[in-house]
């Protein structure tokens, strides 16, 4: 799913990385716990999180996460947006809650990490 579709589905505001809306995302992961993100995501994923600090951005970079969506109407401060810009990680913000956001993306065809694994494993 393209990041531009994610934006449309979640009626999200683009906080940075407007030029990257063409990005293709293989899978998504929703979590506020960064070690869980590192343990259970795959490269190229979209991260949905309510955590709006610098750690969300650094975790995304470390895990090769392509883009981040902040849920529940949470807004990061300016420094976090600058950090994401410097790392070339687009960030979006949606007013929908975590459950709603994940549900809406899932309904529109975004798959989870375990499904991705199966799809690859079973050929």
């Amino acid at each position: 799913m393209k990041l531009s579709e994610v934006q449309k589905i979640l009626q999200a505001e683009v906080l940075c990385g407007e030029e990257s809306l063409d990005l293709e995302l293989d899978t998504a992961c929703g979590s506020d716990l960064m070690s869980d993100v590192l343990a259970f995501t795959k490269r190229g994923a979209l991260l949905l999180t309510g955590l709006t600090n610098a750690q969300a951005i650094r975790t995304a970079e470390i895990a090769d996460i392509k883009a981040v969506v902040f849920v529940r109407g949470k807004r990061p401060d300016e420094g976090v947006i600058k950090l994401a810009e410097s790392k070339n990680i687009p960030i979006l913000a949606t007013r929908f809650l975590m459950f709603e956001s994940c549900g809406m993306l899932y309904e529109n065809g975004m798959v989870g990490v375990s499904q991705l694994k199966e799809a690859v494993g079973d050929g």
Partner: protein, 143 residues
């Protein structure tokens, strides 16, 4: 720790409690490995190991040094800190075990997954700790 066959090696200081910069050292390591041209799946594993170890020093220790060394067949990472150390390593290695404070949890950490994540991403993993002195984590990832 720099060996003759070493392609690249470097050490960085990590300060305990420095949440503003927490993780940046690992981001730097990741970028250096990218520049050297290491395989991206390997880089991801090294970066996760470095990041989890760095966050642990920021959260639980006073100061640490993260050094890494690249040789033709492997990458070795050592995180050594001065701090309170870990009393029961077996317990600390269990998924879900954490002594994180509420403050740390609000920052997105404290799942008790860091050390297990480090081990899972390593080909060789060693941890030593002396209570009241500090902790040393040594990881090797074959390339």
């Amino acid at each position: 720790m720099v060996e003759e066959s070493s392609i690249f090696g470097k050490g960085f200081t990590v300060r305990g409690g420095d949440f503003a910069n927490a993780g940046e050292v690992s981001c730097k390591v990741r970028n250096i490995l990218k520049e050297i041209g290491i395989n991206s799946d390997i880089i991801r594993r090294v970066a996760i190991v470095a990041y989890e170890a760095e966050m642990n020093v920021v959260m639980y220790a006073r100061e640490g040094t993260l050094s890494f060394e690249v040789t033709p067949d492997r990458i070795k990472l050592v995180m050594e800190d001065e701090g309170n150390g870990i009393e029961n390593i077996e317990l600390a290695m269990q998924e879900g075990y954490s002594t994180a404070t509420d403050e740390i949890r609000e920052m997105g950490f404290g799942a008790g997954m860091g050390l297990p994540n480090i081990k899972k991403n390593s080909d060789d993993f060693k941890i030593n700790s002396i209570v009241g002195k500090g902790t040393r984590v040594e990881v090797t990832i074959s390339t």
